[in-house]
Symmetry: C2
Subunit: 317 residues, 2 copies
């Protein structure tokens, strides 16, 4: 089990490299929700998402031999770039397993951080390939969320938010595999014990909500949602028990609602937030929960949006 002390130590470990991201407020959001809302802007984190916190915390704790041999990770998204950048900063060789048809811009970005990219076709299983690479080259496999050092690292964002905004009544956090949500819940319940912690996931991929309600780990087919960081079939073996213990409720939002929230954040708050990063903000803006009179923290978890994709979304709307 990850403790608050693990998060506090992770925080010390990542501070020389991670940004203490700013906390923004919006008079419009406060008027709309009747709450006082504090947005933790992890879209401004290095490589554009909170994932850097967990990745850097995990890689910096590897033993000397593991560091020399290098690490492998599979991801087409922010975890890949977080591992690649952390490896670059720590002088650790990184191998990232990415799909054959990954967007060239993501391949370039990952290689730009010095990672070796190994691509797989749709006939191959990326976990099997990563496992094979790990065995053959004696690389350490770093999973995207179900790892104590990853969870502790992700918890540092909520720690900073509560330190900067003060004790919260409600903390709302996007949920994919639950690394950010579980880490955030541990930090929140320690620093502000009466704070309600709410996870938000896409309606099309409500596995965590189902698991939370049924109190057993539910696995679904890979969900089809614009929230690409939450296309996870289930919580993890480590994140699920933490969510059960510390999270007070789970909410879901549709892709249409998520798009509307994302546009609001772009146009009115002047910040680029990716679909997954807007999950928690969306639940607040769509009033899925009554926040009147409450002091609310919302984690905006990432901002990696391709401009052409963004333009296409606007044109469609």
């Amino acid at each position: 089990m990850v403790s608050f002390d693990d998060i506090a130590r992770a925080h010390e470990r990542i501070q020389p490299q991670a940004k203490r991201t700013p906390v923004l407020t919006s008079a419009t959001v406060d008027a709309h929700t009747g709450a006082k809302v504090f947005f933790k802007c992890e879209n401004f984190q290095r490589m554009g998402a909170f994932k850097f916190r967990g990745a850097y915390n995990a890689l910096s704790q590897l033993g000397q031999e593991e560091k020399q041999r290098g690490v492998v990770a599979f991801s087409s998204g922010n975890h890949a770039q977080a591992i690649a950048l952390s490896g670059k900063l720590l002088g650790i060789k990184t191998v990232i397993v990415m799909p054959h048809d990954a967007p060239p811009v993501k391949l370039e970005a990952t290689r730009g951080y010095g990672a070796e990219v190994v691509q797989y076709t749709k006939h191959e299983d990326r976990e099997t390939l990563a496992g094979k690479l790990a065995a053959e080259r004696k690389l350490t496999l770093i999973p995207p969320f179900d790892h104590e050092h990853i969870i502790a690292g992700q918890g540092t964002a909520a720690k900073e938010l509560i330190e900067d905004a003060g004790a919260l009544d409600v903390l709302m956090v996007p949920c994919g595999g639950g690394g950010l949500l579980s880490g955030s819940s541990i930090a929140a319940k320690h620093l502000a014990p009466s704070c309600k912690v709410i996870g938000v996931e896409p309606a099309a991929g409500d596995d965590a909500t189902q698991s939370f309600v049924k109190k057993r780990l539910i696995t679904i087919a890979v969900p089809d949602t614009i929230a690409d960081g939450a296309r996870t079939p289930s919580l993890g073996k480590l994140t699920f028990p933490i969510v059960l213990r510390y999270v007070d409720d789970m909410l879901t939002v549709t892709d249409a609602e998520l798009t509307r929230a994302m546009f609001f954040l772009w146009e009115r708050m002047k910040i680029i937030v990716e679909p997954t990063g807007a999950l928690a903000a969306c639940a607040a803006l769509e009033k899925k929960i009554d926040l009147k009179g409450k002091k609310v923290g919302i984690v905006l978890s990432g901002g990696n949006v391709d401009l052409r994709w963004a333009a296409a979304q606007i044109n469609k709307a």
Copy 2:
């Protein structure tokens, strides 16, 4: 002449309502320029631009009778909304003279702040119309930049930036009519006397650069540039002497360069900055000045971008 004391007093005056906007940094920008760059994010200011500072400072200093009679301003841009919002917050009636074909979204936003909008056709002169309204209704006309209280208010952004980032070697500021630039230069030369102050304007509207070089006030035709906040034919009677006295150099950037810089700020820094707001950042990113080894402040002056317009720009590129 506006003094630093005027700026300090303006700062006290606006603090209850204006945001102390965050200062962002970017490892990518630092690596690219060889400098340590601090971005002052006035795109996060209330109503989305620094203009709120000057407008609120000006309106809050009106006499009791002037406040009761109300104010008039002509603008199709950020000054209109800054006056309208300041009027709302201070309980002062505002009349905004806007073009007949102003975008509905801007009309709505201005009316949303409680302003009365008076529209003019292309056959009318907006200054004449505003003057007529001022005379008929005994309204006080608040000009967009050439006013001591406006200049002092705009100077508060640079004051905050230097307080937060520490003494700078270089301060780079967008320039339209010169309200922001002149206010910023007074603040910078007081707080960090060795700081070089650089104004940046669109190449298509280089009137301030010409005036700076020739040391006399040059007026040009209204320039055609995507930097709509800098479509000013000349500096003002008050801003020009301040620019001459305190500004160290003027630079220009083309619309193509400005678009590239804007996209960089959107995609890489995850912040929505409008074309005019990106002028100073553009000059730094395009290396119009050697910043190697310097500590540099850059004012991002506004973020009011219509999403459909943004999508059209991306599609065109």
